[in-house]
Symmetry: C3
Subunit: 133 residues, 3 copies
């Protein structure tokens, strides 16, 4: 199991972590296989979406804010109930394919780390089932 640190700078933001993951796959010498990603935090998440226009990330965050506004009167009183909810809506695990020592992704796809209660230093955990080294 490998650990990729992610330093977030805002309370809520989406950060492209694709190149960090591909760098780790090269370092591990995995040519082909399955790459599992996991976020060990309860107020962040992982998603895959378009990396070309940053407005897409903003639209995702604004929609999550409509679903779980930061300022709603929640039962959880630590001021980050919205972040916990957003985490469960987006999810914290991904299983992706590796070919040619890189994640298999569509032309416009990137893996996005989603921060919902930053800024913090976060961890992204990576494990692989190698088919070819």
């Amino acid at each position: 199991m490998k650990h990729i640190p992610v330093a977030t700078k805002k309370r809520i933001e989406i950060i492209d972590v694709t190149s960090e993951i591909n760098g780790m796959l090269r370092k591990l010498g995995i040519v082909r296989g399955i790459c599992y990603l996991f976020v060990p935090h309860t107020t962040s998440g992982l998603t895959i979406n378009e990396n070309a226009d940053p407005a897409v990330k903003q639209d995702i965050l604004e929609t999550l804010e409509r679903i779980a506004p930061a300022n709603r009167d929640y039962n959880h009183k630590e001021g980050n109930a919205d972040a916990h909810i957003k985490s469960s809506m987006i999810g914290v695990t991904l299983s992706l394919f590796v070919e040619n020592s890189r994640l298999v992704l569509g032309t416009w796809q990137s893996v996005f780390f989603c921060e919902f209660d930053g800024p913090r230093t976060r961890s992204l955990l990576l494990e692989v089932t190698p088919y070819e080294r």
Copy 2:
């Protein structure tokens, strides 16, 4: 890694792809193992739900339309911001079990390809970790 083509016919629709996946598993000769599914597109997704009453699919799509209406004024100006958001809400990866050369699914479950910006010719990618051939 295998590729299953999915031809969608509407802008927004949910298509049962279970038999196509099971056909590919038989073709690959996988008796038991893990089947990973991945959609390499940023405006579609994958979910598992009831296949008996088509109204369930309609209710899922109508709820996603309430969350991210097609006609909202988004930051992304290509006319498909809602489709990107819906993709992140539903997700693009699944890890499922294979037994007796078929996906392990509950009585009423099917694997659904979710089109949010069609009609298009889409790809569903499939990889397996075989336990028994």
Copy 3:
């Protein structure tokens, strides 16, 4: 493939199943590997979130109820359309890491079974790719 029974007591509730999963991993003698979880039902789901304050679970359920209220006039007329929608919003699969015969989870994380149409006796299915026994 192993089966963990989950007895739910309310129509809608979130139940921590982490210790049941860890018990099964010990029983199977898996020291390190990947653990796949799957819910073979169309009106329940799986998520990972904070286990310390039960209010977090309540906030997740209340937000899902805003997204898909039980009493909305849905197309599916069996009285559980909201439960099907919630299932697709939360998801029914997880791929997690195992180290030292336990799931790798953050300090505050637990695996939660989400019941959206109980009370019922439910199944949680578990499969593993072992790296070390």
